[in-house]
Assembly symmetry: D2
Homo-oligomer: 376 residues x 4
């Protein structure tokens, strides 16, 4: 019979909603998961709002003080869904309290923060998960399987872009995600962290980068419709070239100014034996080109990744009955909980979060120095 | 504050799993729904299996006798997720017991059954819903809005196909869906009913049809690997031409023999002012061509139907964060429950189910007579 | 060294322009073709216009009387690019004069005409070619190779549509293509003949059909802007179901009322071992699904049919440097001339043209009788 | 009546074949072109081969010495289709001889060469054309029109890639394109020059770049099958970041190691009011997203750029009857010859060729210095 562990989650906005869905659903679709989550408590500073969130999302109780939540003896796993500025204190406290940790990405607003957090987690001997949920898209997991099976051969090229357009309108007002003090960086940390993690997952470690960061709109209304303007202190867009340890080269681009692109997280991988293309817009498909196919019939195959033989799909629906964004969280939480039950750390853990942050840091350093920067 | 109603669901296979997801999720994503469902009881004949399903899917109790469930005083809504042969008795009993009714499609195995069921429901003055869930795909709902707004003009052409391939292998064994006594028809009732409903929803009533039904593999192993063969008594594939009451013409195709097609339910609509293309493989998008666009820039627009202004999407995720198959059930159950709260029958109801069945019946008559058959 | 044969072409509109391109280009791209064409004479009734066409398209001389051209002793091959009403007399005269014949499709306005023409050609012992140019799209020729190699297995389904929209505007005036006396039929003969030929080429003979023909706009201005209205006497759209001799089933649709579709000639083929998808909009690609691919990596491959190993492509450009509509005529003329040099009839010849016309005739009979009609 | 000018072309390989097609076809499809070309003489060092090329491609005469051809008094326009190492001498000689000049891209193997050539052309007061043929793809020309009309607004992002795979096989032997002395650079000059020109055409001048160049396979057989190995002295792949003078940012990538990509020259442009996507694989379409579209129906429109209102298309075929690679040369030659007739220099001329080369030079400098390099 499955063991249960109690979850305490801090934050109840977009990510809080998504993580809640994962906790509610994981045992419904993966009844054999080794550990079942109990949605014990949710935490937020606004009591009225957090109370309502607890009810809507299905949490047993709520707290208004993060430290209170973290130290509740009935909480086994602390899930940090707060904005970046709050991560460090919460993760370190949770580690010190001996709680397993789930943390949204990027783990910190700075590399220094990320190091301190990772050190604390490593010292505490707790399990950790950084919510790079895109790894657990079945099509991405299949890409990984194909790479590991040698179907792509030596990787020559990795190209990734993560394109959104939600602040393309100059009248879009200041929000915490545009304030460096609160969020660390802009498109870089929010979107670039995801494609960095995918690059590490699929291709390997990044050695060095040459980067450019850009803020197209430097002043915005402090509130919707306000004439008072605030300073945007983060990047609207970032792009960088990369050299991987294994000799592959990469290009990365993240922006919030690509009109018409809503959540276009995609990559292309070209290797000596095959190629892969993925786009989140069409997340149930993976394109695969194989040099093994006959001369006359080589071409990019559009694999509908919904068969029982595909990663995670046995838990979901019959072939062709597609899944969506929220399922990536369920798959991720499944693997983490299952790993806890098997006493096996799954990835990406805090060390992966740290390595990702080292890349983000190198990108920022390169954009400033206008030279290549080593990831360290 | 939202009222609650108690659900009793019969059946716990594919559709039972999907409907359960809808009941669990509806108030999580649509907290303002006028009626919240209570998952009171699930019913199946195999006690061990139904008990496990109750636990996995989140039902409070279970029954092993459908009539027992239907007549439980604490059940307000009966949801019939059983194979076609069982629908009639269950729906009529539920109607007589004064319960609201949700019924999987097609409502009956024959037109006669469907008439009896619809009569019973109409007499009983209860609300009903037939689970033509594809109506509530946001892209399909948007298509309906565009048609209703006159953006397509007079519809000339409707073309629909619903393609699967799960029995293309001749060694795939006999299952209840291949036995006319249990299921009424094959691809026609299972898949053709969905595209018939979409045609009625989007274009209007069908006047007459000319049809062809085909069974490619007439004998199959009675069980996987068995040498004993059973007779396939339903259609593997069906196609028909149609004339609509409003002058549009249509072509329909449903098959389980289209290799590579998993759940390819799609349509194209061509009108005097615009055109629409939809495919379930890419269910978060709708293609729209408008004669209003300038001469130089006319083209099919690929609308990503994930904006807050799009039907149902405000409850889900931010733009570009796509949804999947199961969400169509949540959206449908939302509308039905919300309608109950507002004392407003939503559609498709049992009368829609009946009209759909009249089309299926005409298709069967035409395939036999090899002439056009009037829908009646 | 290549032999030469002299071409005499009747007609200088759209098809005359396209055929001229083929004669000019064939030996440029296929220098080893066994017979090189000499563009000896072009014929049209309007002397000024035909003289200009001769110059623009590169013909050595011109005639204003078709019989004059046909009987010129220096003409070896008569190419009939005239409207349907003129085909019969010209083809029969050319056959009687012992000239090889190239004829636009459909060969006649009626089955009776087609029979008379084919009889005359067969009696005359001359070679013939019907310009079903879509057979020689490299992607279509590759489809044929894959089918012949058994890669698709037993064909279950053929679905074709040929969609245009050039008369969707009710103010578009009367033209010869809308007058049954001049053109025989509308979308059926113009577009339906092409997909009928592709069906015969790729799948086999059609046994019987059940059809529907529709005229959406029955009266049109006799000239652009005129208030005087003329009667449209042909079909705006036609669709039909078909049974093939080999057991496959088919659906066909041709229309001039599919707004946004310009020349959307496409087909899908589903067989026991594989599937094929083609669309002229993207004519340099063929989609191919193979059951031989591994379970995890099955998917529709998008083959870019521009490799030297692909049909016809060695004569053209390097891989990825795509070709267009006019190249289909060059490829077709190449095969015909090469066949003449090798004393080998290539296909489709007049007998293919006749068999196609038998299908068109059955479609018309079925649309009238509202029953299935046997192709005969 | 149209004037004629006599063409002398040097080189008869891939580009010679393509340019020949343009000279043969231009007046066939654009009969109103102000200057018609006479294919006077072709030049190559191998007499047998050039003689055969002259015949196959339709040239009146041939030469085996480039200077001989350039100085023939009956030659008005010299077309340089030779490998890069030969350009400088030929172009300067032609300029000195007062001939108009058409030159393949990139114009020189080095910036120094390019400057000398451009100086010579500018001094000579002759017209020039650099064969950046992709500008005259109708879809690209339409993109330019939309940008010029303000439909895209302020450009934020330009992303281009030009992907091929013809040397991905390590056994592919040494050819002149892999030898820096003969070709200047690898993917950079061959492919990168095209996307650089498109960037300049569509967005504006590039200010500075940060680049990476990579040679994946450093030694190759000197001949097919040979065991003797030669050194690859050019880049297999190149990528760079760019800042445009107008504030836009860009990413560029060119490679010959993207398996499955044959000639994938494409770009994306994101601006304040709209976005554009183009891929040569599907060259008859342009995707366009407009903020002007209604909230509910915004989406990327796939414009089939084959209407008479679209650039160049009136000369070709009816809507939907697509064109291919070779047509881009016809369109380009048309504009150049027409410009000559109107005494109007069209672009890209040698000065554009030079500016492109300045970018390539900056890319090489940046790849060496590992810092940003200013384009100068």
């Amino acid at each position: 019979m499955a063991k249960t562990l109690n979850i305490g989650m801090i934050g109840y906005a977009f990510m809080g909603k998504a993580h809640s869905a994962a906790y509610r659903d994981v045992a419904r679709y993966f009844p054999d998961v080794k550990v079942k989550p109990v949605m014990k408590a949710i935490c937020g500073r606004n009591e009225g709002a957090v109370k309502q969130a607890a009810e809507q999302f299905g949490w047993e109780s709520y707290e208004t003080d993060a430290m209170q939540l973290i130290n509740r003896p009935d909480i086994d796993i602390v899930d940090v869904c707060t904005p970046g500025w709050a991560h460090k204190e919460q993760v370190i406290a949770a580690a010190k309290a001996g709680k397993h940790i789930i943390c949204e990405k990027p783990i910190g607003n700075t590399l220094k923060e990320a190091r301190a957090m990772t050190d604390a987690v490593n010292k505490a001997d707790v399990s950790s998960l950084v919510m790079f949920n895109y790894r657990r898209i079945p099509a991405v997991a299949l890409a990984k399987q194909l790479i590991d099976a040698g179907e792509i051969g030596t990787v020559y090229h990795f190209r990734a872009q993560y394109l959104q357009d939600w602040i393309a309108d100059p009248n879009f007002p200041m929000v915490w995600r545009l304030d460096k003090k609160l969020t660390g960086s802009g498109a870089l940390g929010d979107l670039g962290s995801h494609i960095t993690d995918l690059a590490r997952f699929l291709v390997g470690e990044i050695l060095e980068v040459s980067a450019s960061m850009k803020t197209f709109i430097e002043k915005r209304p402090v509130e919707p419709g306000s004439k008072k303007m605030g300073n945007v202190t983060v990047d609207d867009a970032v792009s960088w070239l990369a050299n991987f340890e294994n000799g592959a080269v990469g290009t990365f681009e993240a922006t919030r100014f690509a009109r018409g692109r809503k959540n276009a997280n995609g990559f292309e991988i070209y290797g000596s034996k095959g190629s892969l293309i993925f786009s989140f817009d069409d997340m149930n498909h993976l394109q695969f080109w194989s040099a093994k196919d006959s001369d006359k019939t080589q071409g990019f195959r559009k694999i509908m990744v919904t068969e029982p033989v595909h990663p995670y799909m046995e838990g979901w629906w019959p072939p062709g009955h597609i899944i969506g964004y929220q399922h990536t969280f369920v798959n991720t939480i499944h693997d983490f909980l299952d790993g806890l039950g098997r006493r096996k750390q799954v990835f990406p853990d805090m060390n992966d979060g740290l390595r990702c942050q080292q890349v983000l840091d190198a990108v920022e350093r390169s954009a400033t120095s206008r030279r290549w920067a080593v990831v360290k």
